[in-house]
Amino acid sequence: MLLLIQYTLLFASILILVALGGCFAEHSGVINLGLEGIMVIGALGGALMMRYLPSGTSAFVIILLVVLASTLSGLLYSVLLAVAAIHFKADQTIVGTAMNMLGTAAATVIVKALNTAANPDDVSSTVQYVEEKAAFIINIGGFEFNWFMVFTVIALVVSYITLYKTKFGLRLMACGEHPQAADSAGVNVYKMRWAGVLISGVLGGLGGIVYITAGVSEWKFEYGVAGFGFLALAVMIFGQWKPTKIALAALLFGLFRALSNVYFGFDFLVNLKIPSGVYNMLPYIISLVVLAFTSGKSRAPKSEGIPYDKGSR
């Protein structure tokens, strides 16, 4: 049971972080379908940082540097979306999809190159971080408390305040709803959209490192992040683009995702003799059902996905 709660919280953390990222991008008016790729690149940054940190580095420094590496990688990667979507008016769906393909391909190429350079016989795309990962975890009587959970709560609170209590948030949301209105009021729409996309890069990157450290201590980068970026988008829609509701939605999705990791710990679930594949599918099926019931009346930011052109009014 403890294990279920632990995994639920962990997966919910990932979903919250990434969904908040999507939320910032969409409130600014850019649809970020590349979150999946951003997660991979963020995970790569963090994983490589863990790998190359000298052993014996203090836990605090590890946490600091790993988080920094992931968020920075995510941020830099999201520039690809910002440039294409904001300045070149590219189709955001194509660009997002390309970023997802590119994320996995690039991470695989990079990790394999590093592995092969270190050991010519090693052609795997795996990064190990057994020791370093321990820095993030504190054992409280069988419950593995993870520092990322704290970061998530902080991100959640900060997001809420930023969106609803600050000048920045007001301007950001105006750009996603009615960019012409924002522009005429003197708000620089391009700048706000850049901000939205870059924040989504930071949060997506952070979500990526949490994902690959959740429960495992090595990652094979060929796998990508198994549609988690899109699950986060589903959470965002289900959460109606609002941080508080996103958190609740993420807990629900996190629970179903956690079940596939720990269902064998529950006798009654084991007795049902459901094949493990079904548990693997569960989060995706749930999200389809949930979306079917919530998308009908969902209120996405009105101008999301529409490139802003100063000239057209």
Partner: protein, 378 residues
């Protein structure tokens, strides 16, 4: 005045695709340089050469055959993406539809010993069913087809793993060899294999996929159904206003898209070229490469035939890079970059038109001033 060739939209499409390819390869080359400058040039040439790496014509033919075997399913996935895109839908679910198509035909072939044609039909039906789910969710529940497509991709993958585990070899994660356990389901080769140095995998799939491309071209360009679909894609509201059944068209489109991708699954796995690996934990790249091929082909079914071959050509070419320095995924990287660049197609064309207009305006101004001067002399 002479008509500027660059103004022709087909010429423009081809040109922008070439720009994407060259830029994509170039960026790939730079990545290789970063990894190891020593063999980068050689590696990028290997990628571009693919089967031409071999010296003997026979070997070249054989491996050209192999590339073509995988071009057929890729073309189907690309057509699936393209067809949906014309109606304004982004069928990222092609990957999953391809997977369930593969799963359906393999299971029918291995467990029920169906012959090739019913197996193929089942694959089409399975893909279509997955497309239908996306379509219904889109038109009746307003669920974004990209998100539902991704969810269905994973559901499809895990289902395929589960179902095909029943027909797999005891000692490996692979399904039974089709040649051994389901020979009746192998697609007819039509003697085509002989052309490719007795490559037994080349057969019906190739001409069939090209035929489908032509068929899609006719449907979209020449028929009333295509007229409706494109109208819906350009302007959903106007389509509805003029009495087109836009919900039905959305569903129908995704069903057809799904059927095309499902057929793609059948066209690869029913050649016996590959076995399904029941421990797949990521989706086969075929569906996503289909996106690359569709856009690189300028969203034209005929163009897609060539772009599919090209994408498969470099994907296969990745296998020939020097493994002590690089990995084969460099090809995936290049195709991803190409898709990214395809996002800029609108901009490329715009830039081209602006340049043409500018130079024409300049020319016109020059002619005017010349006339003016001449006029002044008189």
């Amino acid at each position: 005045m002479k008509k500027n060739l660059l103004k022709n939209s087909i010429v423009q499409s081809i040109l922008t695709s070439l720009i994407c390819i060259v830029l994509g390869m170039f960026i790939g080359f730079i990545v290789l340089l970063f990894i190891n400058p020593a063999g980068a040039a050689e590696a990028i040439i290997s990628v571009a050469k693919n089967f031409l790496t071999y010296n003997s014509t026979n070997m070249q033919l054989k491996y050209l055959g192999n590339t073509l075997v995988k071009t057929a399913p890729l073309l189907m996935c690309a057509l699936s993406v393209l067809f949906s895109y014309k109606v304004g839908l982004f069928n990222i679910g092609a990957a999953g539809q391809y997977v369930v198509g593969a799963c359906a035909c393999l299971y029918a072939a291995l467990a029920w010993k169906w012959s090739w044609f019913p197996c193929m039909l089942l694959a089409i039906a399975a893909g279509a069913a997955f497309g239908a789910i996306s379509g219904i969710l889109k038109s009746y529940f307003n669920v974004n087809e990209v998100i539902s497509g991704i969810m269905l991709n994973w559901i499809g993958l895990y289902s395929a793993n589960m179902i095909l585990s029943n027909v797999k070899e005891a000692a490996s994660p692979y399904t039974y060899q089709l040649t051994a356990a389901g020979e009746q389901a192998i697609l007819p080769t039509l003697g085509l294999g002989a052309l490719f140095n007795k490559n037994q995998y080349v057969g019906l799939a190739l001409p069939l996929s090209v035929l489908m491309a032509v068929l899609i071209w006719v449907i979209l360009g020449k028929t009333k159904f295509g007229y409706e679909l494109k109208a819906t894609g350009f302007n959903k509201n106007a389509a509805k206003y003029s009495g087109m059944a836009e919900k039905r068209n959305i569903i129908l489109t995704l069903i057809i898209g799904g059927a095309l991708a499902g057929l793609g699954g059948s066209l690869l796995y029913q050649t016996g070229y590959e076995q399904w690996q029941c421990t797949h934990s990521s989706l086969p790249a075929m569906g996503f490469n289909g996106i690359a091929a569709a856009f690189l082909g300028g969203l034209n079914p005929i163009g897609t035939i060539f772009s599919s071959f090209f994408i498969q050509h470099i994907t296969a070419g990745g296998a020939y890079v020097d493994k002590t320095m690089y990995c084969s995924q460099i090809s995936d990287l290049i195709s991803a970059i190409i898709v990214y660049l395809c996002g800029f197609v609108g901009f490329f064309k715009y830039a081209m038109n602006v340049r043409i207009e500018k130079s024409e305006a300049k020319k016109a101004a020059k002619e005017m001033s010349v006339e003016h001067k001449e006029g002044g002399k008189e």
